[in-house]
Amino acid sequence: MARNLERLTDLVAGGVVLAFAAGMHLAARAEPPALYDPLGSGTAARYVSLVLGALALILLLKASLGLRVAQSQQSLIVGLDGQTDGDYALRPWLAAFVMVATAGYAALLTAGVPFRWSTMLFLFVLGAAMGDRSRRHAAIAAAVAVIGALAIDTVFSRLLLVQLP
């Protein structure tokens, strides 16, 4: 089962990388020739995308023929392997919700909602969602949202003079 999932993942990954390499190759081919330097702005992208496409094809072939594809054993994002070291359940839907909520937060900022208010809303929604849904937790989440948003806004815009969205 795990082997099949790994194979399917490799097939999808190979397909996506191949499509990306093809798109970049076509875009690079459309670049005009160089005026004064021998390579021009599109040549490197053309060759790199060709090699990338070839490697993606190898990955696709190996995965579709059922040959073993070695996997990276080095992890820079810890905890994504689905292993739990204790008696708690993983929360994949919550993880997906974090991405959705962050996209919503970015959308609010893009739409021009002031940083302070959108941050307050975001902190409250996510803080409440990550807890045990008790009233007490929601109240603490609200307090953290208000204090956190005001503090971040003040520290960045007034003290550090960083421009905020």
Binding site: Y36, A45, L52, Q74, V98, L123, M130, L161, L164, P165
Partner: protein, 489 residues
């Protein structure tokens, strides 16, 4: 500014505060499970814009050192590596703490950390200068070949799949290309999307891939309990006799750490595993490993701190980052219009000396702060993640937006957060991606400059001995898996 001047400069109130603040923050994120030093460095980078370059490197190097060291606390008291490199410390630190010696476990780890860090500083000071001197004769061909070799090495040395490593590195190279082509000034590969006119900037990419995606991965484990051993100060300062007893182990593990740190893309986690295994195989009591062995804690902690000096050697001397933290340091230097590599010694010796001085001073500060404050740091493990994680995401958004004040960078961060998660899920190594993203444009620029000097001929790559040698290493590295396969058959 000489190295001695740099040490004196660090004692000025502002610089001292920056260094102590950096070490404190580094230790704090090292202690908090789920928040990594790489994440902290990525998030801090945008805020170094307003600093002068010396202060910026002081802050980042201090955070780097603090972050590598802080994982010891969580590993020992909670059996959770606060940093991935503390994974081997959990095996013996936690059992020793459970047996009633948490202070002793932390003390041994802390002592080994400073010895490993100090020895790696010696290597940093002794090796970086000569290596840079040797590299100063490099022209564009040699520089191109060197970057090619670095990309090949980081791909092959990352543990696991060479094929996936190559794909990740080339993805990084290709994704760095859209935007303004620096050689011709043309806007290229933007697919007529206005937001891509400036290309994918390093900060949103790094923040998305390593900070946002890490928070999402951590959310999976948000309900994880915080069963822990209560910290106490008894035994936190180890005796001189302990240093003598564990001296050879500390030295050997530090040398392993420095060597592995120099190799691109391998990192502190592997260093601690190799040092742990070596110590176990040479130990008179190998059966004690995994049950609270002091030798094991010393080996793992000495090695992972020793990588901090090792990784800085190729970064400073050749401009090649060995991993994520170095890639961020490289980006910080580039933001401040500094180009790491042999010329940095001639053009900006103050930066080189500031980095070297901070590396040692931050280790000393880390030792003092961990000794005095480990009980307080241990409390940070209990910060509720439900409130911490959303705050970190807000920092990610501010960090991605702040440098160019572009809301599109927030979306780019979000997209690269998903890319990072997807690559990690599909078991592609991320270090080659970042290094490809950073080194790809540099390699292209060097190649184009080189070709302009040779009227478009690639022959100098084969005619110049150093360039040829470096290219051969790169090609052999790339073909090695194939050669090994043929030999096996």
């Amino acid at each position: 500014m000489t190295l001695l001047d740099a040490f004196v400069h660090l004692l000025a109130p502002t610089q001292l505060a920056i260094m102590l603040g950096g070490v404190l923050l580094g230790i704090a994120v090292g202690v908090m499970p789920g928040i990594t030093a790489g994440m902290l460095l990525a998030l801090t980078l945008p805020f170094t814009y307003s600093m002068n370059s010396v202060n910026a490197v002081i802050l980042l190097v201090s955070m780097f050192v603090g972050g590598v060291s802080g994982g010891l606390v969580t590993a020992t008291l909670m059996r959770i590596p606060g940093e991935p490199n503390a994974i081997m410390t959990t095996l013996d630190g936690y059992p020793l703490a459970r047996r009633g010696f948490p202070g002793r476990a932390l003390g041994l780890g802390n002592a080994a950390s400073i010895v490993g860090g100090a020895l790696s500083w010696v290597a940093l000071v002794l090796l970086t200068g000569p290596l840079a001197k040797a590299a100063i004769i490099f022209g564009p061909w040699e520089n191109f070949a060197l970057l090619l070799m670095a990309l090949a090495l980081i791909t092959s040395l990352s543990r696991g799949s060479f094929l996936k490593g190559m794909i990740a590195a080339l993805l990084g190279v290709l994704l760095a290309m859209p935007g303004v082509d620096e050689t011709s000034g043309r806007v290229r590969l933007t697919f007529e999307i206005d937001a891509l006119t400036n290309g994918f900037q390093l900060l949103p990419v790094v923040v998305g891939m390593f900070a946002l995606s890490q928070i999402v991965a951590d959310t999976l484990h948000v309900d994880q309990g915080t069963d822990h051993v209560r910290a106490n100060m008894r035994g936190i300062l180890i005796s001189l006799r302990d240093y003598v007893v564990h001296g050879w182990n500390m030295l050997r593990s530090a040398l392993i750490g420095v060597w592995i740190g120099v190799l691109p893309g391998v990192g502190a986690t592997v260093a601690s595993i190799v040092a742990y295994s070596t110590a176990k195989s040479l130990s008179k009591t190998p059966e004690a490993f995994g049950t609270g062995s002091e030798e094991a804690i010393v080996a793992a902690e000495s090695a992972n701190n020793a990588t901090t000096g090792g990784t800085l050697i190729p970064l400073l001397a050749l401009g090649i980052p060995g991993g994520l933290a170095d890639a961020i340091l490289l980006a910080a230097l580039m933001i401040h219009n500094l180009k790491p590599g042999p010329l940095l010694f001639a053009t900006n010796p103050d930066i080189v000396n500031a980095i070297m001085a901070t590396h040692l001073a931050a280790h000393i500060a880390m030792f003092a702060l961990m000794t005095v404050g480990c009980v307080i740091f241990a409390r940070l493990m209990l910060v509720p993640r439900a409130f911490l994680f959303p705050l970190v995401i807000v920092f990610c958004v501010v960090g991605a937006y702040a440098p160019d004040s572009q809301i599109s960078d927030v979306w780019i961060m979000l997209i690269f957060g998903i890319v990072g998660l997807a690559l990690e899920y599909a078991r592609f190594p991320l270090a080659p991606f970042v290094v490809g993203f950073v080194l790809g444009p540099l390699a292209e620029a060097k190649l184009r400059t080189a070709l302009m000097t040779s009227a478009g001929s690639m022959l100098p790559l084969l005619q110049r001995p150093i360039a040829l040698g470096l290219t051969l290493v790169a090609v052999t590295t790339c073909l090695w898996p194939l050669l090994r396969l043929l030999r096996r058959r």
